[in-house]
Assembly symmetry: C2
Homo-oligomer: 320 residues x 2
Amino acid sequence: MAVYTEIGDVELAAFVAQYDIGRVLSCKGIAEGVENSNYLLQTERGSFILTLYEKRVREADLPFFLSLMDHLAARRIPCPTPVHGRDGLALRRLASRPAAIVCFLNGVWIRRPRAEHCAQVGRALAEMHLAGADFAMFRANDLSLEGWDRLLQACLAEAGTVKPELGPDLAAELAALKQAWPRELPSGVIHADLFPDNVFFVGDKFSGLIDFYFACNDFFAYDVAVCLNAWCFESDGAFNVTKARALLQGYGKIRPLTDDEARHLPLLARGAALRFLLTRLYDWLNQVPGALVKPKDPLEYLRKLNFHRAATAPSAYGLD
Amino acid sequence: MAVYTEIGDVELAAFVAQYDIGRVLSCKGIAEGVENSNYLLQTERGSFILTLYEKRVREADLPFFLSLMDHLAARRIPCPTPVHGRDGLALRRLASRPAAIVCFLNGVWIRRPRAEHCAQVGRALAEMHLAGADFAMFRANDLSLEGWDRLLQACLAEAGTVKPELGPDLAAELAALKQAWPRELPSGVIHADLFPDNVFFVGDKFSGLIDFYFACNDFFAYDVAVCLNAWCFESDGAFNVTKARALLQGYGKIRPLTDDEARHLPLLARGAALRFLLTRLYDWLNQVPGALVKPKDPLEYLRKLNFHRAATAPSAYGLD
């Protein structure tokens, strides 16, 4: 659940007056996004999302995220498009925080995705990768190998309270990944967090991607591996190869994976599983008393990690 | 802040299919209302509010509230209008809770009301009172004298921890009110909770009333007294007689107060202050550890109560 910064009506009217979107008709804080305060803003010109960036997002990264959304939207990727004020700026301040207005995107997220949804997600991800090819800005992935190491070090002392031997197990895994991690694969801007709640559908038809606040430069196939983790496991922990095949085929129709990428899929999927395992473990071990958000079970991702460790070939994911 | 019950996409689509409002385009939990879960629902036919009634609202009262909104809307009082399904029903169940869809109402609430807002609120309140005259259902005010007594009894033992002598002071006040409370005054359906956050404006123009979940049958002038408490004190505790005069004049242009009502205003205002003092005191003394909502200061209403105790004539409120 989101943080809610209170915005006064007078303050809001003055803020909105800097844009060419008419008068404020309504503005309601919405329960979307854990990192920021989001409001569904309705004006005489339609619906928008107003975001106040709370302290968990680095202010220096905001121009990257907003420019990326501009860039993708210009290439017809359905995503929130920043609205620019009359002064040309998309990023300004409101209630002492960085703030931006983006266009509203129709759709709801799918709680129990089926293969047909996975196929559409794969296609959309590939389209996003191609559309980002000529994006000029760069942001390193701070949640790749080095970031995992930092998280692991912060968790090692207490990891055993979650599961015996979890610390040494993850340390060995990270060492193995560091050893085998590819140095070169096709790269560009990736979403890096394309979970079901970040993909909208109207009915069963894909309508858009949201939440680009983890976007960065990294291997395209790593982004695919994140999706395999996020979309293709059942709630009982079983891997659904039909969904994986649908996702990979959807992706491949737009941007075929190279042999090298396909070969590295099991390894990249291990890395992606470790990434979410470690952030969840960190949040689990560092719970704030009375916090609004109940942390997610890190061990869900240990089970996923173990699946990928057993997968020695891309055929485990339904690739021929 | 509201409770959020999670609604699945499939469940929501099936629910909305019972209405003639097109397909779901979007549905976002909003931070509005403390008692219920509210969602801003957008469909092919426009914007709506979907409400799931959580346990703090008595299910048996829901037909009264929804029928009242229907009744008022039919008489052109701008308020959320329940949407009826193809089966004619406005109230059904979703996620194991009573649920209803109402039309979306434009507007934001005014954080620092000025006299011009108070005048419009007075007028709207009077229009609501007149429009409710022929409403056929009845709901007793469970937060009048008897309800205050129950709350006071529940708070007496600990009230002194908030302020020395607070318990005996409130007991004496309640006894005096019981003694002097009028038996007959013009009555009908009242809103009973018309605070600034329940009145919407577009720009500085009144656009509607929301949150009828305290509505009941009681004296019209008591509703006016609630508004005097809610709208006419400054944040430093000072009573702003200019705002009160504007509110009462706005009201009187639509429904002039009788002499008897005007004469009773100071007493009714004491009652209204005691009502909010007691519910706040109860919430203050019964805080749930880790709750989302920080309870409001009960003593703000002790200061208001003391103002009204000193006000012996309606002229204190700017009435001639």
